[in-house]
Subunit: 532 residues, 2 copies
C-alpha cells in the first residue's frame, strides 16, 4: 500500500491535510455496486470487502487527522463551523470510488441549499438555516430545510432505482420507483411532517455540560435542526401488505441507505430500524419521493427516502435501497451504538451501550427564534417573541407559554397566533409580552402537547452524555431597553444625536452620563454616609 | 503638533499600533515635578497643564486604538490576556516625560512579579497569581500578590520622598519617610490585611451578563484578585493627630497618588477618599512602607502607600504624596465615577453616576480554588476542596459551607481546617466531602461572617452594570469519576492499559465500550418496546 500526505483545499478555502492511497487494486476492491447508482458501494452483503476496508483504515489509523475537542473551548466563527477532515480521509484512503465523494457532496450542498445556510459540519454535511428563514411559514423551503447526513451523498438514477424488501415478509419483492408511484399498486399519500435531529439545541448542553466526543463530531446544533415539509409517497404499511404481510415474529423494520457510514474503523451502509407497531399505524412511515411538491433533492435522499413521522430524523433513512423485516432492532451502529439516551450519571467513565435506550419518538419541545440570544431589544413596554413548538409520536402542540422573567410569570400564546395543528408537524407561534423591566432578562418558552406533556425546566434536567434531545424550556438572554422610560428615552436621544447606538451593549462608548452639577447636587441630597 | 503612527512591539511580542508626538515643547509642558520622583507629573495643582493635556488628547481622539469589546466573545488565550494599547497611546502623545512609562512599568512587572502571573491587562498593569500559588498559605508572597494599577508605576527615591498633609487639619505638615519611620514620632504597627479588588471574580458576571465597557478596560478578573500581606507602617489616625487633629467639618480624607490617571480625555493624579470614621478607628488606615517584612515593591506603591483595611483595594492609594482632609468625598473620578454599585435595572441606557453608591467596605465572599472549573476529578468516594473566604469592614469569617450538589446539601468546614481569624484578613479553608455521584456536578461555597452575613445565591442576585463585587456563592463544575464504582474502575483500568486518560473529558477516544455479546444479551433481557 503506497500513501502520501497531501495538502488540499477544503471547501471553505482553508488548507487541510489529507491522505491519498494509490494502491491500484482499490478500484476493484470497492466498486460501485450498480450502474447509475453513483457513490453506492454495497458493504452489508460482502463481509470480506468490509474486512479489507477495515484493514486499510486500521493501517492508516495513526495518520488520520485527530478528532477535534471543540466542546470545552469556543466554537470557531467560521462557516463551515467544523471541518470533517477525518471523514474525508476515510474516503480518500479507500481509493478511487470513494475519494471524490466529499467534494461531490459539497458541490451538492452548494447546488441544493441556500447560500446563507449555517454549515455546522461540512462533511458529512450537517447544516441548519438562519433562524429568520425558519420562521417565514409553517412549511420550510427545501433549500432551507436542515440536513444531517451521516456520509456522502449518492446520486442515483431514478430509472435504475430498485428497492428490495426482504426478511420476515411472506413474499419478498423488488420494486422500481415506477412500481411505487403506480396508483394502481399503491395509493399515494401526502403528509405534513416535521423532522428534527435529536441533536437540535445541543449547543445548550455543550455550553453547560460538555458531553460525548464521538468519532463523528457531535454537531453543535442550534435551534434550526428542525424543519417541516409536505412529503408525497406511499405508506410502508401498504407496501409490506403488498409483500404478503409481515410474519408473526416480525418486531423491527430495518432500512438500509446507499450512503457509506464509518464507525470505529469499520465500514457500513447506513442502517436503522423502527418498531412494527409504528409501521402498522396509518401513514406514519412513508416511502417518499417528493418534498414540498418538488422531486426529493439528492441531499435529502433522492430518489427515495423513508419519512418516519414523530421519530428522530435519523430513522428517516435516505437513499433507501433495502428494507428488512427483522425479529429485533437493526444491528447497524447508528441504531445500537448511537442515538442513545443515557442516564444522569452515565459518561465516558462507565458508559455501556446497553445503559442507554434507543431514541425514537421525540418529546415535546420548543424554541424562541426571535429575538436572538444577547440581543439589545429597544421597545416601548412590550416586545414580540416568535418561535416553534413540536411534539413527536403523533402528539400535537396544544399550548405555548412564554416568560420574560426566567420562568416565574408565564403568558400563554393565543390560538390565533399559532399555526394550525397537525398530527406530525410543529406549530409556529408568536406572542406580544408586556415588558417593563430594563437590563438583562431571561426569556423562556415551554410547550404543552395534547397529552399534557410539557418541558423540563433546565438544561441540567435532561442533560445526557451523548447530548441528545435538548428538550428543556428554551432560555435566551436579552438586554431590554424600555424607551418609554424618561431617563432611557433621553439617553437614546443623545446617542442618536452623536450617531452612537447601544449595539453591542458592551461596546465602550464615550457618552455624557451626568453633569457634575447634577451629580454634586444628588450626593449632597443623599450623602453616602450617615450624619451620626 | 506633529504626529506619526508607528508600529512598536508590545510586551507579549505582538505588534501593536502606537502614536508618537514629536512636539518639542512637550518636555517643558509636562515636566516631572520633583527630582528623584521619576514618572510623577503633578496635575492637580496646575489647571492650565491639565487643560493642555486634555487639548492634546482631544486632538488625537480619533487616532487612538478603539477600546475592544471583549465581553460578548471569548477572551484571548494569551498572556497578557488584554493589551492596553489605548492607555499606552495616551502616554505617548503627551511627550517625553510620559511616553516611556508603559515600557518601564512593564519592566517592573518582570522584575517584581513571578513569571507565572496571569497578566489580565498589561498596561495599566492588572495581574493575578495562578490559583495554586494563592493557596500555599495565609500570607501571599509579594511576587504573587495581585496588582490592580490605574496608571504607570512611578519610581521614587526614598530620601527625596515627602508627604504633604493639608486641608481640614489644624496644623498642615510635610513629613519625610524618616519622620514617619521615627518611633519617637509615631509608634509603628504591623497589621495582617487582605486587599481585594472589587472586580474579583468579575469573569462570572461577564459570562452570565456582560456589563460596562468602560474606557479603562474592566479587567476580566478571576478568583485571584485578592491577596494577604502583613504591612508595617503607622496609623493615619496618629499622623492626623500629629497635624493637630481634624477640624469639625472634616468628613472624608483624600489620598493623592503620584501616578497619572486618564478618564474621558482628562488627566489627573490618582485620587480617592475614605470617611472620617474609618480613619478614626484604631489601626484601620495605615501609611505603610513594608510588605511581608520587605520594603514595599515599586509596583505596590513604594516608598509609601495607604492600606485601608476592609475596604476595596482602590482606596489603598499607592505612591501617596498628598493627604487632604475634606468636607466631602474626593472629586477624583475614581471616587465619584467609578467603583459604583448600581441597581439591577441600571445600565448604559439610563445610568447616572448618582444612581450608584460608592463601594468602600467589601461584603462577605469566598471562592473555591481547587479543584478547577471543568476539571475531571477521579476519586474514591470523597474529594478535597480548598479556597478562601473573606469579609470586609473588620468582620471576620466564622463559617464556610461547601456543597457538591449546587447548593442543596451543605457541609461545614471544621475550624481546624481553616486558617486563624484576623479582623482584616481572609481565612483559607479546606474540606473533604463525601462524593458518590458521577458526571458533571456543581460545587459551591458560601461563607458567613461574624455578623451572620452570608452570600447571595446566584450571580444574577448581585449583578450590577459595572460588574463589581461578585459576591454570590462561588460555583464551579467538575466532572466526577468515582473509581470505587465497579464499572468505572474497569474503564479506568482499560484506559490506563491503552495509555489513554479521561482528560479532557470531551476528547474523542476510541475505547472499548461494550462487547456485542453483552449488549445483545442485555437488550434481549430488557427489550426496548413492550411485548404487548
Amino acid at each position: 500500500m503506497s500513501s502520501t500526505v497531501a495538502r488540499v483545499e477544503s471547501p471553505d478555502g482553508d488548507v487541510e491535510s489529507s491522505l491519498t492511497n494509490n494502491d491500484p487494486a482499490l478500484a476493484d476492491a470497492f466498486p460501485e455496486e450498480l450502474a447509475s447508482w453513483h457513490g453506492y458501494i454495497e458493504w452489508q452483503n460482502y463481509p470480506e470487502r468490509r474486512k479489507k476496508a477495515h484493514d486499510i483504515l486500521a493501517a492508516y489509523k495513526d495518520k488520520f487527522t485527530p478528532i477535534p475537542e471543540f466542546q470545552l473551548k469556543p466554537l470557531p466563527e467560521t462557516n463551515p463551523i467544523l471541518v470533517g477532515h477525518r471523514w474525508k480521509e476515510y474516503h480518500a484512503v479507500l481509493g478511487p470510488t470513494l475519494k471524490d465523494i466529499p467534494a461531490e457532496s459539497w458541490a451538492l450542498v452548494q447546488k441544493e441549499k441556500a447560500a446563507d445556510m449555517v454549515h455546522v459540519l461540512d462533511f458529512p454535511y450537517n447544516g441548519e438555516p438562519p433562524r429568520d428563514k425558519l420562521m417565514q411559514g409553517k412549511i420550510t423551503p427545501n433549500k432551507y430545510h436542515f440536513v444531517r447526513n451521516h456520509g456522502g451523498i449518492p446520486t442515483i438514477d431514478k430509472a435504475a432505482f430498485r428497492l428490495n424488501i426482504g426478511g420476515l415478509v411472506n413474499k419478498p419483492q423488488t420494486l422500481t420507483l415506477a412500481d411505487l408511484q403506480d396508483p394502481n399498486k399503491f395509493e399515494p399519500v401526502e403528509v405534513t411532517v416535521t423532522l428534527q435531529c435529536s441533536g437540535t439545541r445541543r449547543i445548550e448542553q455543550i455550553h453547560e455540560y460538555p458531553g460525548d466526543g464521538d468519532e463523528l463530531i457531535n454537531a453543535p446544533w442550534g435551534e434550526g435542526a428542525i424543519g417541516t415539509a409536505r412529503y408525497r409517497g406511499v405508506s410502508l404499511k401498504k407496501v409490506l401488505k403488498y409483500c404478503g404481510g409481515m410474519k408473526d415474529n416480525a418486531r423491527h423494520i430495518e432500512f438500509l441507505g446507499a450512503d457509506t457510514y464509518f464507525k470505529k474503523l469499520e465500514v457500513y451502509n447506513y442502517a436503522v430500524s423502527v418498531p412494527r407497531r409504528k409501521v402498522e399505524a396509518v401513514n406514519e412511515v412513508l416511502l417518499a419521493w417528493e418534498m414540498n411538491g418538488e422531486p426529493l433533492p439528492a441531499i435529502h435522499g433522492a430518489p427515495l427516502r423513508m419519512v418516519v413521522t414523530g421519530f428522530i430524523g435519523a430513522r428517516s433513512c435516505k437513499w433507501v435501497y433495502q428494507i428488512n423485516v427483522l425479529d429485533e432492532p437493526s444491528h447497524g451502529p447508528v441504531q445500537r451504538k448511537e442515538y442513545l439516551y443515557y442516564g444522569p450519571q452515565t459518561g465516558k467513565q462507565n458508559v455501556q451501550f446497553s445503559n442507554g435506550f434507543s431514541i425514537q419518538e421525540m418529546p415535546v419541545s420548543s424554541a424562541i427564534m426571535t429575538p436572538k440570544d444577547r440581543e439589545v431589544v429597544v421597545h416601548r413596554g412590550q416586545i414580540e417573541i416568535t418561535g416553534w413548538a413540536y411534539s413527536g409520536g403523533g402528539r400535537w402542540i396544544e399550548r405555548v407559554d412564554v416568560s420574560a422573567d426566567g420562568g416565574h410569570i408565564w403568558y400563554q400564546c393565543k390560538p390565533d397566533d399559532m399555526t394550525e395543528k397537525h398530527y406530525h408537524a410543529w406549530r409556529l407561534w408568536k406572542i406580544t409580552l408586556p415588558l417593563h423591566a430594563e437590563g438583562w432578562l431571561e426569556l423562556c418558552v415551554r410547550a404543552f402537547d395534547n397529552a399534557c406533556n410539557t418541558q423540563p425546566t433546565f438544561v441540567r434536567s435532561t442533560w445526557n452524555w451523548d447530548l441528545h434531545v435538548t428538550s428543556s424550556a428554551h432560555r435566551i438572554k436579552i438586554y431590554s431597553v424600555n424607551a418609554s422610560h424618561e431617563d432611557t428615552a433621553r439617553r437614546l436621544r443623545e446617542l442618536k444625536e452623536n450617531g452612537d447606538s447601544l449595539e453591542p451593549i458592551t461596546r465602550p462608548l464615550m457618552f455624557h452620563i451626568e453633569s457634575d452639577e447634577h451629580y454634586n447636587e444628588m450626593v449632597k441630597k443623599h450623602p453616602r454616609e450617615p450624619e451620626e
